[in-house]
């Protein structure tokens, strides 16, 4: 019964959501809407679980003095501080939470992302080798698209943006469509296998 009941629930609700997509009857929609609200509530609880998990893992790291434990200290302080600021001071404009979000978290997050530019440049110099015809085609396409997407490309050659658009709209799109159709068929197949109880990995265990 430990497996049969979850499988039955999955089959019933999974099938119902397919019906809900294609049948716009108010009775079906009403049940569909209720189920979606349940799903949103369940997903919301995963955030509580996530916070508890971070606190537990990093708390253990500090108490056991595991590798890189000092990094766990500001993480937990930051977590507790932002939680406290949000819960007790609110999250709207002018609050401590919002100020820290806009003037501390936002620039730090942007900085981390912008570091990519430096690493990509380094990787381009050290690792991108045109050893085969395929690598040569990839390099040529990359150079054309990179130049075609920025103003300097049109300054170098006025037809470059058009060539870049053609690469994006014809060969790139053909390959992308093939991948998307393949992935979609795979998703449909997996979805059906889950609903029919053939795919049981999501239940965990052995």
């Amino acid at each position: 019964m430990k497996k049969e009941i979850p499988l039955l629930i999955t089959a019933i609700f999974g099938s119902f959501m397919i019906v809900d997509y294609f049948v716009p009857h108010p009775a079906v929609s009403l049940v569909g809407e209720t189920l979606q609200q349940w799903a949103i509530i369940v997903i919301s609880f995963s955030y509580v679980l996530g916070v508890a998990n971070i606190a537990r893992i990093n708390g253990q790291k500090i108490s056991k003095r595991s590798k890189d434990w000092p990094f766990a200290v500001p993480l937990l302080i930051g977590l507790a501080f932002m939680l406290g600021a949000g819960i007790f001071g609110g999250i709207g404009e002018g609050t401590l939470f919002n100020d820290f979000f806009l003037y501390a978290y936002t620039p730090m997050s942007g900085t981390m992302f912008s570091l990519l530019a430096f690493f990509i440049a380094s990787a381009a110099f050290r690792s991108f080798r045109v050893r085969t015809v395929e690598a040569g085609l990839l390099a040529a396409a990359a150079i054309i698209v990179m130049l075609g997407r920025v103003p300097v490309g049109a300054e170098i050659w006025d037809k470059l943006p058009a060539v870049s658009d053609w690469i994006n709209n014809v060969p790139q799109m053909a390959a992308k469509r093939a991948i998307m159709i393949g992935a979609s068929l795979g998703a449909i197949s997996t979805g059906l296998k889950v609903i029919l109880g053939l795919e049981r990995n999501y239940l965990g265990g052995e």
């Binding site: 997509y21 929609s29 569909g32 809407e33 979606q36 609200q37 799903a39 949103i40 997903i43 919301s44 995963s46 955030y47 999250i91 709207g92 404009e93 919002n98 979000f101 806009l102 978290y105 936002t106 620039p107 997050s109 942007g110 981390m112 992302f113 912008s114 530019a117 430096f118 990509i120 440049a121 380094s122 381009a124 110099f125 050290r126 690792s127 991108f128 080798r129 045109v130 390099a139 990359a142 150079i143 990179m146 130049l147 997407r149 920025v150 103003p151 300097v152 490309g153 049109a154 300054e155 943006p161 658009d165 994006n168 709209n169 790139q172 799109m173 992308k176 469509r177 998307m180």
Partner: protein, 269 residues
């Protein structure tokens, strides 16, 4: 090659990005078909219509996506549209709030609750998207500040997304444009304009070509083009010179790396 200090590369990138930001080159910006289509689609919306603004990004992608959010809101508020904004990314509501305040309040004198509303964040990814399509009221019973939706003027008469004129989505990834197309556009046939990061733009070209997206704003370049169309040059326009030189530097590094590699290979017996 292994002995080459990569800090020289970092220094070159820093200078090539920093210098044009301080001393702009003023390279002309060409408007692409995808961005022109986005602008035209919003321009077709009747003045004063209610629209849905789905902001799905976070501070990491803010330099790329915030300028296009500001430009899109600029065009919407210039048409006196009533904007209903919401987020599927937990770190996005304050960014949406910032965009509303800067463009709605400061530039156009619009009022919160009357001309625009920030419904805040809703977890659930695709489930939340389907739920928004079916009933915005059921999905967001309160706004970002906890005010009941029934007491917000701009939300009067709004329930399903089908009652709105257009859906504008600014997305950094998952959940985002792809999910809005799959769960809402294909189901409710609302016009959908998308703005996304440059790296994810190729993924959405098929949706644009099929007409499921009526406009596509890709990366900082797309944002700069949109700024040009709304005649409000902002940070994206200023960043295009830096991006131009950055791209040139990357190409130079690829070429140089290969020249050094093949030259040293020939010399090796």
């Amino acid at each position: 090659m292994e002995k080459f200090d990569r800090r020289y590369i970092f220094l070159a990138i820093l200078l090539l990005v920093l210098v044009p930001l301080l001393f702009p080159l003023g390279l002309p910006i060409r408007v692409s078909h995808e961005v022109q289509s986005a602008y035209d689609a919003v321009a077709r919306v009747p003045d004063g219509s209610k629209v849905y603004f789905a902001a799905d990004y976070d501070p990491a992608t803010m330099p790329e996506l915030h300028p296009m959010a500001l430009a899109a809101l600029d065009q919407l508020f210039s048409k006196n549209c009533k904007v209903i904004g919401a987020c599927l990314w937990p770190a996005c509501p304050p960014l949406l709030e910032d965009a509303f305040r800067r463009i709605g309040e400061e530039r156009y004198g619009k009022k919160y609750g009357v001309d625009f509303v920030n419904l805040g964040y809703k977890p659930g990814n695709e489930v939340a998207i389907v739920s928004v399509g079916r009933s915005i009221r059921a999905t967001f019973p309160t706004d970002f500040y906890g005010t009941p939706i029934d007491s917000i003027e701009v939300m009067k008469g709004v329930d399903s997304i089908t009652g709105l004129a257009i859906l504008v989505n600014i997305s950094a990834g998952y959940p985002g444009t792809k999910e809005w197309v799959q769960q809402v556009q294909s189901r409710y046939h609302i016009e959908l304009v998308a703005g996304c990061t440059a790296v994810s733009t190729p993924e959405y070209y098929p949706y644009f070509q099929s007409g499921q997206l009526v406009g596509l704003i890709g990366g900082m370049a797309g944002a700069a083009e949109y700024e040009k169309l709304v005649k409000r040059p902002g940070t994206a326009s200023r960043g295009m010179d830096a991006q131009s030189l950055g791209h040139l530097a990357l190409i130079a590094f690829i070429v140089l790396g290969n020249v050094v590699y093949f030259t040293s290979k020939k010399k090796t017996p």
